[in-house]
């Protein structure tokens, strides 16, 4: 595992964004691990390199527990005390991972980097109404003063996130899951940060709301903000993202343009393909095997134990080369798994997602034979 002699390939940078502007956020071999009892470590994020340009949206997808949220937290310095980081994450000139708490608190969070946390209900202060929390953020971040102005600011932010105004005076525990999600989105949008980290911003929302939220976020991106959207909702990702980063066991295993990823030629990493195949509108079959234990990763490719294509070569960690980190990537040009997908844009905003036609009603998904990883 020490064979990483070659310079890590500078991943494709900002080319895809088409703007040519300097990247907003540049991650270079960023890693996060958690110190556990008895000197053990959990490697939640490993050697992630990624650049995000203004006006670009990268969707970060991956199996649950692969380290997406940890990555976002690390960028804001919100990791628990037992976390350790390595590598760098530059936000313009500022290196985020090593930045002082005061710096992050005063100048970065909310102002330059916004976060829509996962589990929004848990991240709201339970003893204060949504309105008071929105007004507070407005006061602190935008300097809005005066009762009326604050009310207006709060209501405007709520409206942007489709949070119903008549629910503003509720306490977090009186909100439904979707309402809490919208409240969290509203809170993150108040400061208008150039970079937005959205961790599952669409959970708990119905289709209409997902689209409204996604469109609102896309509007932000089109205004020149950068968006790192962590999501399981591939339809939403497809609708908004310029590029897709696929994460597996803490590493980025594929980084591709969204059209290519969702349309032709489709994903090239076996895990990414498996992920798409698991969609209910597609095969609805889970990737076999258990998710890896981040505390005891196998040497080499972490996906190998679950991979049908695995060979001896997989005993070495594959580098991310031309957008995919795999010793046996699906060659570009192989037939896409399914019909082409649409890109985002106003034109198709109203168009409803057509689920995969099912000729006959399939039984419930069968549990695949698990590949014993151990």
């Amino acid at each position: 595992m020490t064979d990483r002699t070659q310079n890590p390939e500078r991943t494709d940078g900002t080319a895809d964004a088409g703007t040519g502007a300097a990247p907003l956020l540049t991650l270079d071999r960023m890693s996060v691990r958690f110190r556990m009892r008895r000197g053990r470590y959990v490697a939640a994020v490993t050697d992630v390199s990624l650049a995000l340009a203004p006006g670009e949206c990268v969707a970060l997808v991956g199996e649950s527990g692969c380290g997406k949220s940890v990555l976002a937290s690390a960028l804001l310095g919100l990791l628990p005390e037992n976390a350790e980081t390595a590598g760098t994450a530059h936000l313009g000139e500022l290196e985020l991972l090593g930045a002082a708490e005061a710096e992050l608190a005063r100048r970065v969070r909310g102002r330059r980097v916004g976060l829509i946390p996962q589990s929004p209900a848990a991240h709201l202060t339970p003893v204060r109404t949504v309105r008071s929390q929105l007004q507070e953020v407005a006061r602190e971040l935008t300097g809005t003063r005066g009762k009326a102005a604050l009310r207006a600011a709060a209501e405007e932010a709520a409206a942007r996130a489709a949070f119903p105004a008549d629910h503003l005076d509720r306490y977090p525990h009186e909100l439904s899951g979707g309402l809490a999600q919208r409240a969290a989105t509203a809170l993150a949008l108040v400061g208008g940060p150039p970079l937005l980290l959205a961790d599952e911003p669409t959970t708990g929302l119905d289709r209409d709301l997902v689209e409204r939220t996604v469109d609102e976020l896309r509007r932000q991106v089109d205004d020149g903000h950068g968006l790192l959207m962590i999501t399981h909702d591939l339809a939403a990702a497809e609708r908004i993202a310029d590029r897709v980063a696929v994460m597996y066991a803490g590493r980025i295993v594929e980084l591709a343009a969204a059209d290519a990823f969702f349309g032709a030629p489709g994903p090239r990493h076996p895990y990414a393909r498996g992920l798409l195949d698991a969609l209910p509108e597609r095969g609805f079959t889970p990737i076999p095997g258990l998710p890896p234990e981040l505390g005891a990763l196998p040497p080499g490719c972490a996906f190998a134990p679950r991979c049908a294509h695995a060979t001896d070569a997989c005993a070495a960690v594959p580098a991310l080369a031309s957008g995919v980190a795999c010793h046996h990537p699906v060659p570009a040009g192989t037939a896409p798994p399914h019909e082409p997908h649409r890109r985002h844009g106003p034109a198709d905003a109203g168009e409803k997602q057509v689920p995969t036609q099912r000729t006959d009603k399939p039984g419930p998904p069968q549990r695949p034979e698990s590949v014993d990883a151990r």
Binding site: G114, H123, E136
Partner: protein, 329 residues
Amino acid sequence: MTGLPLAPMARMAGRRLLYAVPVLLAVTFGVFAIAAASPFDPVKAYAGTAGFSASQEALDQLRDSLGADDPFVTRWWDWLTGVVTGDLGESTSMRQPVADVIGERIGWTVLLCAVAFAVAIVAGTLLGVLAARRRGGLLDRAVTSVAYALEAAPPFWLGLLAVWLFALQLDALPAGGLTDTGTDVVSFGQVAEHVLLPASVLAVSQMPWFVLYVRQGVGDALDEDPVRGARSRGLAERTVLLGHALRSGLLPVLTLIGTRVPELITGALLIETVFSWPGIAAATVEAATSVDFPLLAALTVLATAAVLLGNLLSDLLYGLADPRVGFDG
């Protein structure tokens, strides 16, 4: 828009008012009972030192005239019926009507306790937040150690120390009384100057609980997701501490407002003695040991009322502070 949930608050207050009646009955009855069961003898207490040399005949006469031989239930009932008709009875130990005894002194006790309590709550909360901000830091360790040490220090002892330091060494504050010993004029300035030391000592003696509970509550809240959420939004550290961590960790502190009232009264009782403060609390011990039933009952009612009010206040406040609790009590 919605303002305070006045209706449920009013309902709760009303309910408490109703419950206050049986509580008061129970407490006064209980106090009459234990006072009667106690070995204190009202006659000996009345006689004071004169009792040591008093003749048996004189004592018997006194016993008779004080009604000391009546069973306590009778005395309680007499007292109760008297109170209903607006007669608080006459204090044997003070040789005065109870209403006069209390009327003369209650104001000063309320003043002392109110100032001390306000100081204790505000200062305690601030110190607690500061300590919680950096748990395990120097300030935290200093504040918590002092808080624990203070909790072990009886108020009268702190009082002596304070008098020694502020009145004697620094000559900054008067050492006791309501006004300067040379004057009887009760002016605002005089009282303000004189209340400072006793109130501070009382406040300091009450502070450890507030400090440590705020520290605990805020410290725990700081580790939790809501604070993480607040931080991620870019709120200033102060806002995070006061607006989120403190708000979440406030519940036990509000509870303390109610539960510390008895301790406050106990503290006042000692502080008033030490600082020659002309309040009512100091009379409690005398009323108790001389089994001065009418006065004792009146003082108990006052203490009970203070406790019930404190509890009501804290219940109302925590219904407001934590909507999950509500106004159900």
